[in-house]
Subunit: 348 residues, 2 copies
């Protein structure tokens, strides 16, 4: 499974290889997106192609461009076995309702706290009994033939703990693993103070995964505050950004929807988020409000704070439409500013 994740990452880091590989792999696509080429023909002294370094990749053709996505806003308890069974039931119900892509919340197998992270952490590389949450997700993705963005769980690797999102293909294989890049260290006096860096180690790479339901960029919660990450994912050809998250009662009402809509509208792609249901008696009280946003920044479906699964349709042809209306990619000023994808550039 490590090999699968690594090869996906390597393919994304080598864009020429990726493009041809993806075209070959996706030749059976059902609803190919038309190319937006008309406006690209005009030469420009503004060098919009240089506004992304390396230049942005073309949007790949996904195997499935119209499908149902489900966000399972789960209640989470201190009982890990219960949480695993509960998540499994929600995933099965979502698939029964036709979802081809299912999202889980951030830290869904136990309480969100620095005390709990070590206790509930799993050794994903060891798998099996060392990683019951991981094993359940792999098994259920395979048996239901769905793509699963498995929220996040605490991961133990050597002496380190990470806040980790595993993405499973419809064959149950691990397609990518995102370790939260930007740790949640904030201090709003009298409101919310939290330091993930007390116990967790930050991830070392952005994560983009090619799946049956398109190219997905992964961020976890606080990662959404860093617009550069979303811009970088868009430049790597992502159709959809998924952010498992657990915003709190202070930053949730202020920023949760704003950030999702801004990432979607600025980058003209889909954004899906999934948080835990609110438990007002928990040490950390989550905002809820799982949401799907379209490429015009429009909220397609959202919910309040209670346990629920929300399902909506994603239609990637809307990305092309929005980018034709507002051709930002050909209007950027590479002569004035440039976003560098450091790892992708370094791999070339």
């Amino acid at each position: 499974m490590r090999a699968a994740a690594t090869s996906t990452a390597a393919a994304l880091l080598a864009p020429r290889l990726t493009c041809s590989a993806i075209r070959a792999r996706l030749s059976s696509s059902r609803l190919p997106l038309r190319r937006i080429a008309a406006m690209a023909a005009a030469p420009s002294s503004f060098r919009p192609e240089e506004a992304r370094s390396p230049p942005a990749l073309e949007l790949p053709i996904p195997p499935l461009s119209k499908f149902k996505v489900a966000m399972c806003q789960l209640s989470v308890t201190p009982d890990k076995a219960r949480n695993i069974a509960h998540a499994r039931a929600a995933i099965e119900a979502a698939a029964a309702d036709g979802a081809k892509l299912v999202l889980l919340p951030e830290i869904w197998n136990g309480p969100y706290s620095n005390d709990s992270f070590p206790e509930y952490a799993e050794d994903i590389e060891a798998g099996g009994d060392a990683a019951p949450s991981f094993s359940m997700m792999s098994e259920v993705a395979r048996s239901l033939q769905i793509t699963l963005v498995g929220g996040s769980i605490a991961e133990r690797s050597g002496n380190n703990l990470y806040n980790t999102c595993c993405v499973f293909g419809s064959d149950g294989k691990l397609k990518g693993k995102h370790r939260k890049i930007h740790l949640f260290d904030i201090d709003i006096p009298g409101k919310i103070t939290f330091k993930e860096s007390k116990t967790l180690t930050a991830g070392q790479s952005p994560t983009v995964v090619d799946t049956d339901v398109g190219r997905i960029g992964i961020g976890i919660c606080y990662d959404i505050r860093f617009q550069e990450l979303a811009m970088l994912y868009a430049a790597r050809g992502a159709h959809l950004l998924c952010y498992p998250g657990a915003f709190n009662m202070t930053t949730g009402p202020l920023h949760w929807e704003l950030l999702q809509r801004a990432r979607a509208a600025d980058n003209q792609l889909f954004v899906a988020t999934c948080g835990p249901a609110r438990d007002a008696s928990a040490g950390y009280v989550a905002w809820g409000h799982s949401t799907l946003v379209g490429p015009f920044g429009e909220v397609i479906v959202t919910t309040e704070h209670e346990e629920t699964t929300i399902i909506a349709e994603i239609d990637y042809s809307l990305i092309e439409q929005r980018r034709q209306f507002l051709p930002l990619q050909y209007q950027r000023r590479g002569d004035l500013y440039q976003l560098v994808d450091v790892q992708r550039l370094g791999s070339q």
Copy 2:
């Protein structure tokens, strides 16, 4: 006046010179912002300082850190002399109400249309009778001792027309001139189609101006869609971004407030916008909704579509507070992504 604008630009392009020059100039500041240094002390392998290239400048100490700002949402008619007198009266009323900074709308001296731009254009460099809108703004800023972000007017320079924002100091001098960088070329079938590039030429530089009321980054309308510009201004030490704008009835409800709030929250600074009042009989119908947003993405004051002047207080100490709560500047991952300010880097 050209010399003043040029020297401001040169100072901003040479950060070391700027910092010391600003400290000397602003030694009489009334409410100096405290430094956010505590978290910067910790060494990090994430190299957050490299997330901006060149590294972000420190927030300068403004001469005035708490003051009233007025946004004059003006009605605009085909009668240029009337528009000039009307704008002057609104500016005078705002100053009488205590405003130290006044904003005007995009294209406020005549209709917003490709047919009208050449007819209403002024030769700013010639000044005097060749530029009656410009002359009025300079004179009124001096006589009222206010900073004036003069919305925008069509500017003729040689064979080119620009959509240009002039910023006047409280001495009436032109402190900076922003020519719209990203022209408004969009095509939403059945909704709104416009091509500014039919008649206008795009500006060649971002514009940051040091004024009595802080360091201000200027964008005009469509410029707000390009998050890179706002990020670049924040890295040049801006306290406030001003966007004269005239969003339309399609993109206004969809994106106007979203973009303002996103630029403010992501960059943790103030954003002020000013549009023309709506004239439903005009060829181009504007959305209105002039707004001031604070550094937490919070709307401080806004309005609907009718002619009005809205006044609110700006308190720059909120910037420091927000950046302490959420220290994004020390959490960015310069090891993963980097925003390059091409002109500032080139000048070093």
